[in-house]
């Protein structure tokens, strides 16, 4: 049986995102980008769950939670 590790990652509420890009500017790993000018998308492979984007987000639509990766 494969071992499934749960890791802490940034999770964006896409529907409420205003696509301002504040999160992109603060991400130390370049793991977040604004997809097609509509919402912020997290690259789960790169995200280390540091929470900088969560702090920066003016709309507070980013959370840090366990994601199976």
């Amino acid at each position: 049986m494969a071992v499934v590790k749960a890791r802490r990652k940034a999770i964006v509420d896409k529907n409420a995102c205003v696509a301002c890009g504040c999160c992109v500017k603060v991400c130390p790993r370049g793991a977040i980008s604004v997809f097609k000018g509509v919402y912020a998308a997290v690259d789960i492979g790169k995200c280390i769950g540091c929470g900088k984007c969560k702090t920066a987000c003016p709309a507070s639509v980013i959370g840090i939670g366990e994601v199976q990766a």
Binding site: C20, C22, A59
Partner: protein, 192 residues
């Protein structure tokens, strides 16, 4: 992180507000902040303006972040609701059309009013920023009207910067809401 030339556009935004105190005709430059984001959204299908170039956003980030003037607390839920964001966009556009109508009235012969209207209500004397008669009265009227919009939105942005997070203005910025809607429409195939 590497700094780019566009990370200094906050200087242009600050300069714009200052110049309006000396010569109102500089207000016309604000058209760039209206046209560039729309052009990028329509033809570039992105919000690169908000994401990279918006000097106002950078200015708020500087004041609220670096200078620590922001309380850094969560914005009230209703401000980020779609109803408020779209409602504010409609209100803003209505006020913009009203400003254009005032410009037309001066074009049609009404006397030019040397006032800057703050928060769509308070008329501030601003006659010192108008020099000479090189420009037609309606051109000057538009400058006053446009500067009023820019100063009002900056004021709202400063208040929400202080109360909530530095770039809270971005949450309900009419240009941001409009460009996001354009991007949604222009990229609907990729988004589904």
């Amino acid at each position: 992180m590497k700094r780019h030339w566009y990370d200094y556009l906050w200087i242009a935004s600050a300069l714009y507000l200052i110049l309006g105190f000396f010569n109102i005709m500089f207000a016309w430059l604000g058209m760039l902040c209206f046209m560039i984001p729309l052009l990028i959204a329509v033809f570039g299908k992105s919000k690169a303006y908000c994401n990279r170039y918006c000097g106002r956003g950078q200015l708020f980030q500087l004041l609220g972040g670096k200078l620590k003037l922001s309380r850094n607390s969560e914005i009230p839920r209703f401000i980020k609701s779609k109803t408020f964001r779209y409602g504010f966009l409609i209100f803003f556009l209505a006020m913009f059309i009203s400003m254009l109508f005032n410009t037309y009235l001066v074009f049609a012969g009404r006397e030019l009013s040397h006032k800057v209207t703050l928060l769509w209500t308070f008329k501030l004397p601003w006659h010192w920023a108008c020099h000479g008669t090189v420009f037609a009265p309606w051109v000057v009227q538009f400058a006053y009207g446009f500067y009023s919009i820019m100063l009002t939105s900056t004021l709202l942005g400063v208040v929400t910067m202080l109360l909530f997070k530095p770039r809270s203005w971005c949450v309900y910025c009419p240009m941001g809401t409009m460009t996001q809607l354009i991007c949604k429409a222009r990229n609907r195939k990729e988004l589904n």
